[in-house]
Amino acid sequence: MTVRRRIAVATAGFGALAVAAITLAPLVGSTSIDLRRALDWSVPFADNVDAQIFFVARLPRTLAGALVGASLATAGVVFQGLLRNPLATPFTLGVSSGAALGAMLAITFDWTLGIAGISAVPAAAFAGAACAVTIVYALARAHRRGLSTDILLLAGVTLNAFFSALILCVQYFADFADAYRTLRWLMGDLDVSSYQPIITSLPLVIVSFFVFAWLARPLNLLSLGVDSAETRGLAVTYAQRSAFFSASLATGAAVSIGGPVGFIGIIVPHLVRLIVGSDHRVVLPASALFGAAFLVGCDVLARTLIAPVEIPVGVITALIGGPFFLWLLVRRT
């Protein structure tokens, strides 16, 4: 099968899955709604509870899930390719703990964005992520020209530990309720109840996806090793830098919407690779679509399993993804 054909088949297959998940997810929830009434435009929106549950509660939540899932899964693929380490996740290089520190500070000190009048938690999370990325990048290129992936990895892991300590420190002195809310934020939550965070993050995700599309070929070359990639004419440093910043951008955007939802960035890429092989030209689009479907599916379980009480979506992704991934791993080897 030619590459073009394989891309088409994988995209069609995983695309169908994603479309199915996104269409079906808003139909179920902790309450049952009358879909005909929800879509009945003759009833004023302000009076139509079913329509409000559908359009204010469920639809933004589903779209947020799809966007976050797609971003984290593809960012995982790119980080694994960049660091040439199968254990890399979007959170390995400190992006999530930087974001968590930002969110924690915003929650504890009740920050708001003055004129815009919106909650500062997503913005602070994004700023924290950007801060972590900058520090890691500066460290990785401090000593020699180019980008050292070893230093990148070590700096990221150390920064993660350092930020985690800062988070615990702020949390220790924070109000009890605020500490609990931060802990909950760390488990991931997609109940955005408005389209605004999705619209804000969408341009960032689109930009990084364009870079990912260009990165597929360089990542394939990088998987042969830096030296072979260089001899085949790849501008290695340029590719590494693009990969690092675009994947960080996608991760930061995703985390600012839904918090650091765990496991997506490692399970989805590996699952997809087990099915379609390791060519990044196929893996990247397939991971985006499957990541979206997987997180939307997990979120449906999160809000319906023990309704009206909700299970944090990060707990579901780990509980389902972990064993499933291990099973696949054992079956294949």
Binding site: V49, Q52, I53, V121, D189, D191, E310
Partner: protein, 311 residues
């Protein structure tokens, strides 16, 4: 990774505490049996009224002042704010970070501690410092605690008088709202600033739920037998509360309060939003399970039944 770290820290802490508690219980029982000593003094049953009291619980500090033992209080927790006298007293930490050294240096003859502070309790025990152990649960426990505290520090009469006053206050509110329709209420105690995210509301058990019921309301989450419920937008839309009350700590300007109340407009089909019955209560009265519970309950009752309290 952060999550796991925090979780493990919490879980090991919990497990440790429980183990210590069990170990401690075994030790205590065997000590009482084999040493053939009366257990008086073990948890500090001193016969004279204490004259140097430290309270690690804001609600209990309030109680001590309300039953006339304010002069005996020598230190309070880092969260104490009421009555005004406590602001001048030394602070010795709180639930998670009690400062044992400072507590000991103040030579107290009674320390009020939380039941869950097992480490601190063991340390104070070793130093033979008498303790009053505080358990926090529902509204009814407030008066129980006041009575026990009064008995412990030799101020039964004052404690009973205070309990009578609180009961009368609550009974008065109950009488005024009796027979009135009970508005279905969402009682929120946590939410992200300026967004409908991270909303935590009172479930069907605990002090806040009890206050809401006493104030003549019906809790929309009465069926969830937990102290707190994470209220998603879908749940709020489906439960359709007639009144939304939000408890907020910290000072807020009128403009800030207005902006926060306006955030709810997105959920326009919720009856409380349509009829403009969304209120932010920016008053510590409603969050301290102390002697002012009747006043706190009245604050809620006034918002639930504005007509009844209009005169």
């Amino acid at each position: 990774m952060i999550l796991t770290t925090i979780f493990f820290a919490r879980i090991t802490q919990l497990a440790k505490n429980q183990k210590i508690l069990r170990w401690f219980f075994v030790f205590f029982v065997s000590f009482a049996c084999f040493a053939m000593r009366p257990s008086a003094g073990a948890i500090g049953q001193s016969s004279t009224a204490p004259s140097r009291i430290i309270s690690l619980i804001p609600a209990v500090s309030e109680m001590l002042f309300a039953i006339g033992a304010g002069a005996q209080v020598v230190a309070v927790s880092s969260f104490d704010e009421y009555p005004a006298e406590v602001r001048k007293l030394p602070r010795v930490g709180a639930l998670l970070d009690p400062d044992l050294e400072r507590i000991l240096s103040l030579a107290p003859d009674l320390v009020v501690v939380y039941e869950s502070q097992t480490d601190l309790r063991r340390q104070l025990e070793r130093a033979s410092i008498p303790m009053f152990i505080y358990k926090h649960a529902g509204l009814a426990d407030v008066t129980t605690t006041i009575r026990l505290l009064g008995g412990r520090i030799g101020r039964d009469a004052e404690a009973n008088a205070l309990v009578t006053r609180i009961d009368a206050g609550l009974a008065g509110i109950r009488a005024r709202v009796a027979g009135r329709p009970k508005p279905r209420t969402l009682l929120v105690f946590g939410r992200d600033a300026l967004a409908l995210r991270g909303i935590y509301a009172s479930g069907g058990v605990g002090f806040l739920h009890d206050m809401l019921i006493a104030a003549g309301g019906e809790n929309v989450f009465a069926d969830v037998k937990q102290q707190s419920v994470q209220a998603t937008s879908e749940l709020i839309l489906a439960r359709a509360p007639e009144v939304i009350l939000e408890l907020r700590a910290g000072d807020m300007t009128a403009e800030q309060r207005k902006r926060e109340e306006d955030v709810w407009r997105v959920l326009s089909s919720v009856p409380a939003v349509r009829s403009g019955r969304v209120s932010i209560i920016n008053d510590p009265l409603t969050v301290v399970p102390g002697p002012r519970v009747a006043e706190g309950t009245e604050l809620i009752a006034r918002l639930l039944h504005p007509d009844t309290f209009a005169q």
